[in-house]
Symmetry: C2
Subunit: 313 residues, 2 copies
Amino acid sequence: MSRAPVLLFACQGVDQAAWLAALHRADPGLDIRVWPSVGDPAEIDYALLWKQPPGLLDGMVGLKAIFSMGAGVDNVLLDASLPAHIPLVRMVDPSLVAGMVEFVVMQVLHYHRSMPAYRAQQEVLHWQMLPQSLASERRVGLLGLGELGAASARALSGFGFDVLGWSRGPKTLPGVRCFQGADGLRDMLAQTDILVCLLPLTPDTRGILNRETLSHLPHGAYLINAARGAHLVEADLLPLLEEGRLAAATLDVFAVEPLPADHPFWTHPFITILPHAAAQTLPQTAAPIITANIARHRAGQGLAHVVDRGRGY
Amino acid sequence: MSRAPVLLFACQGVDQAAWLAALHRADPGLDIRVWPSVGDPAEIDYALLWKQPPGLLDGMVGLKAIFSMGAGVDNVLLDASLPAHIPLVRMVDPSLVAGMVEFVVMQVLHYHRSMPAYRAQQEVLHWQMLPQSLASERRVGLLGLGELGAASARALSGFGFDVLGWSRGPKTLPGVRCFQGADGLRDMLAQTDILVCLLPLTPDTRGILNRETLSHLPHGAYLINAARGAHLVEADLLPLLEEGRLAAATLDVFAVEPLPADHPFWTHPFITILPHAAAQTLPQTAAPIITANIARHRAGQGLAHVVDRGRGY
């Protein structure tokens, strides 16, 4: 194709102006069509999607690749009409990884250093130093050892935490005690003080955080879910907090987003709510990654970070 | 001396049982006298002090070295009768440094990632993603580039923050924009989004955080004081928060500790109070460092980490 490549932009809930400016800056030659102003659907070469309306790609017979704006592609794949033979590319953006590492380290330190207890003390004007543990005495278990999990493990190891990690298949990471499969999951949970979920959402991982699995944690463990709301069986969380199996939870993601106003999580004293903000894809760093991948494809080289549709990530 | 070395233990506000056990484990040959059961004062070879009563060392004519349980020795030096010719050793404990790095990184990330705003949103059930900055877009200014400051700078650089550092004399640290002296202080403050105080308390640094200096910060900056309460002119803080010059402050230390119940800091919505808990000296790691230093001295080698009384650190 000698004409300018045509990119369809169909992303909801993002800063569209910032994205269009960043894409233009990254490749001024790109012909960007902003949904629903598609023009001739047959001219679309590439599509950048996020929470797109189903059926959007119908009639785009020249489509060569689909880009997801997020690292997880589950919401892009909700569209059953998404053509199965077109490569789907997930977002692998170093600044998205950096944002997630910041979030994970921040919340692990928050629990490690007893910040909820100190905040409660401040509320009642109570001055008391609490016991402080060495990081090496604190076991942090990561669910998922992909880009986000591996980078988080590296950062946590740097602080001296005892880092454990679980993945579907076998993995080896320096400084991480690695577990796999259903037995490995129970083994890891039984020795995890702070549990961090960074899994992709697939049929295998849906509901993986439930009463049965979380009951393997030591009493008073902490949960941080920065992956997807559907990883957690939400109805199971409140009794686990009530019984003290879990001391507190930080939730960035929910079964229904935005979290409905009458949801009991909002006002629970031991739950910290984030509005799916653990790690945003920032246009200034992500746009050049998308345009570089397009350039690679146009030069006849393979696309980077193509999703295995069977695995779902 | 062929008899067992005698160590006086006179530390208040610490877990005495844990310390005595750790010291005994580190050197079972040590004859430990717990104040006020000193025995013959002339037999005392070494003293480990923290918030000790003044005049405590009178009559200890055989004293060879004084150890401070904390990294800062200002409260040990409050005792005007402390013999000036006896070496005073400050605590340089890798786990104390690690604890401070944890605290600094945790609170810098807390502000960098808008956690106070997200907490306020949760209180009113409001779901809204806030703009996220790259760490490289956030300027963190460290006051003090000693063991604690340098280690904090290293950790913050690892996250990609734009790290600035100020010290009395000239210093060069990799990845840190270094400033010095009074002019350098103003220069650094003018470009600091998050200010962290890790200075020793000396006549030169007392009151260094005041209306004049802090007014050089950009509007909406954050303050973290993990050094000494007397670094901050407390009466200046509330108007700076009211005017928005400061967006929030985390204070671990205060002019009077425990912070009096009627102090306005306790209930201020933008002030986070910690009970001097940013970094504790942990007996399991610090006791072996003290006994190793005693062994070095007994072997005729020099003591490590002797304080320059003129500088105060």
